[in-house]
Structures are given as structure tokens and as C-alpha cells.
């Protein structure tokens, strides 16, 4: 599998996984009795993610990928964090993680679209970019609705220790001294050079994600990415609220 194929194969799996995770969160939102407006928007996000998964797979096949079914790990298709927590707290985790992911995804797909020259790649990037904007608003609105339901203090007490974990992919990334670069013909299929990719994601976290948690009173104003990276390292790869596995 070459870099272009790998990129769109992974993206297809990511989008399908997102459909499953938002569907699970939607069930929690229904059980919590949030407003019907939010529920309809949630189902729309699920529909969008299914469509994104399908068109990403079509693009993967278009660039020479295997036309057979895309294999998925069932464990990746369900929320793993805080499995024993009550529904309202699991929903807050799901909404918080979605807000982080969709905020970064918007930046990434804007960059993909800037690079894409292949017509099908451009179409896929345009569809996803347009939808990601509404998904990001949906995610933050869901977090707000759950905050109103649960209360500001209880939400902050749950969210604050988890923010670093939710952002672990972006805060914990360590680039090698020399990263491979993609030739222009690969960039034309919406690829992004790895250094620019990681830099943009980190910058989105700092400039957009953290301020949104701060403006909601869920993160102290003086918090910085460096502070969260230190928290992440202190967790040692174990999600907040869960004990590390016992050693023999």
C-alpha cells in the first residue's frame, strides 16, 4: 500500500469509526432527554460520517486500493473511556472528545483541499470540509447542552482532568528529526507533509480548542499546551480515573 492509498484507507476507517462513536453518543443523548434539535443534528452527523467513510473508501479504490471490504476492529467502534461511569458523564466524555477531534479535522481538511488537484480528491475534501464545520458546532453545542443538564461545577470536575487525555494524539506526537516528504503527485491527492500536518494540528489545539474549553470555564485561563503535555506524561498512558494494570 503506498502513501496515498494508506492515507485514504485510514481516513475511511476513521470516518466509519466516527459514525459508530457518534451513534453511541446519540443513544446516550436520547436516554438523557436532550432537546430534539440536538438529537436530529446528531443523527445527521452519523449520516454524514457514513457518507464520508464511503467516499473515502471510493477514493482509496480510485487510487489503486483493494476494492474488497475494509476490515474494521470492533473494539475501535465503541467508546472505551470511563466504561463504568453513568450515562451523563460518558456522554460528556464523548462530546468533549468529539469537540477536540472535529476542531482539528476542520484544519486538516482545509489543508487537504489546498493541496488536492485530483478532481475526485478535491470533491471528497470539499464534502468533508463543509460537513466538518457543522460537526464542530454540533460537538461544542452538545457539550454546552450537557453542561446545562449536569451543572457547571460537575461538568468542570469531570472534564478538566480529561482534557489532556482527549488531546493525547496531538499533544503527545513526537516527530522524528527527518520526516519523509511527499512528492507533488501525492500531495495532489490531498496528502499533507507530516511536519506541516502535525504543526497545524498542534496549532489548532492551542489557538482554537483550549480557548473554547477556557471560555466555557472548563479549563483555567492560564493553562498551556506545555502544562497539558506534562499532565499527559504523568498519566503514563492510562486514561484518567483508571488504575494502571497490575504488574506480576
Amino acid at each position: 500500500m503506498n502513501d496515498v492509498q494508506r492515507t485514504w484507507f485510514r481516513q475511511a476507517r476513521t470516518e466509519y469509526t466516527a459514525a459508530s462513536l457518534v451513534a453511541e453518543m446519540t443513544h446516550w443523548l436520547i436516554r438523557l432527554g436532550v432537546g430534539p434539535d440536538l438529537l436530529v443534528r446528531a443523527t445527521r452527523v452519523v449520516s454524514d460520517e457514513v457518507r464520508h467513510a464511503t467516499i473515502c473508501r471510493e477514493l482509496y479504490v480510485h487510487v489503486g486500493g483493494d476494492p474488497g471490504p475494509v476490515a474494521l476492529n470492533p473494539r475501535a467502534l465503541a467508546h472505551a473511556d470511563d466504561p463504568d461511569a453513568p450515562t451523563h458523564l460518558r456522554a460528556i466524555t464523548a462530546a468533549g472528545e468529539l469537540a477536540c477531534e472535529e476542531s482539528v479535522a476542520l484544519t486538516v481538511f482545509r489543508m487537504r483541499l489546498e493541496n488536492a488537484r485530483d478532481p475526485m480528491a478535491r470533491e471528497v475534501c470539499e464534502v468533508i470540509l463543509r460537513d466538518e464545520a457543522t460537526h464542530r458546532v454540533f460537538a461544542w453545542d452538545t457539550l454546552d447542552a450537557l453542561t446545562a443538564l449536569v451543572g457547571q461545577e460537575a461538568t468542570r470536575a469531570w472534564v478538566r482532568p480529561r482534557i489532556a487525555w482527549w488531546l493525547r494524539t496531538y499533544l503527545g506526537a513526537k516527530l522524528r528529526p527527518v520526516e519523509p516528504t511527499f512528492p507533488p503527485e501525492d500531495l495532489a491527492f490531498g496528502l499533507i507533509d507530516r511536519r506541516a500536518h502535525w504543526a497545524a494540528m498542534r496549532q489548532t489545539v492551542e489557538a482554537q480548542v483550549l480557548p473554547r474549553f477556557q471560555s466555557r470555564g472548563l479549563l483555567e485561563a492560564e493553562a498551556t499546551p506545555a502544562m497539558l503535555i506534562a499532565e499527559l506524561e504523568a498519566l503514563g498512558g492510562v486514561p484518567p480515573g483508571r488504575s494502571p494494570p497490575a504488574t506480576a
Binding site: A12, Y16, G35, P36, D37, V40, R41, R44, S47, V50, R51, A53, T54, I55, R57, E58, P69, V70, A71, L72, N73, P74, L77, S103, L106, F109, R110, E126, L129, R130, D131, E132, A133, T134, R136, V137, W140, D141, D144, Q208, R212
Partner: protein, 104 residues
């Protein structure tokens, strides 16, 4: 007809929320970044047209105190219907999906 009025109020209440999902009443943090080209509201009748349709259909007038409530926007729900599925996905009807989850 009290039961009719009760039903009407429920429908109007739901309509208020459902139309909201398509009309930009929500927080718009960064919405413009990806939506410059998005035709989200292009097909939705404007408020004046809604008001006119309400009057024509005999919906409650201003004296009932309900005139401000919009009617249920079925266009906004069209994606739920089979014909609302994007053409590219409709081609999958009756066929196994392109993703395979390990059941073991």
C-alpha cells in the same frame, strides 16, 4: 377541540426546534470556515414565505399568540427519506456494505 389544540402545540413546539437545526440559531463558532460554499439554507423558504403559508393554511393568527412559531420544516427532514439519501449511497441499496467488522 382541546385535544386538537394540544396536538397542535406539541407539533409547533417540535417545529421550533427542528427548523432551528437548519436556520443558524445555534452558536456559530467557526461555522463560516467550512460553510462558505455550503447550500444549507438555499432551499429553505424565508420567514416571510413561512408566515404567508401559515396564514393560507389557517394556522393560528397573531391573536392566538402562536404566530411566531414556525411550522414543521419537512424539507429539513428530507434526508431521512430514501430519496433523501445521496445518489452515491443509493447505489448501495440491496448490496453488502463496503466495511467488514470482525465478529470473532
Amino acid at each position: 377541540m382541546p385535544s386538537y389544540r394540544a396536538h397542535l402545540f406539541v407539533v409547533l413546539g417540535v417545529a421550533t426546534n427542528l427548523i432551528g437545526c437548519n436556520s443558524g440559531w445555534y452558536s456559530d463558532e467557526g461555522l463560516d470556515e467550512g460553510l462558505d460554499a455550503a447550500p444549507t439554507d438555499a432551499t429553505r423558504p424565508d420567514a416571510a414565505a413561512d408566515a404567508g403559508a401559515d396564514a393560507a393554511d389557517g394556522a393560528p393568527d397573531a391573536t392566538d399568540g402562536e404566530a411566531a412559531l414556525p411550522r414543521l420544516d419537512w424539507e429539513a427532514l428530507a434526508f431521512c427519506a430514501p430519496e433523501g439519501v445521496p445518489a452515491g449511497l443509493r447505489a448501495w441499496r440491496g448490496r453488502p456494505g463496503p466495511f467488514q467488522v470482525d465478529r470473532a
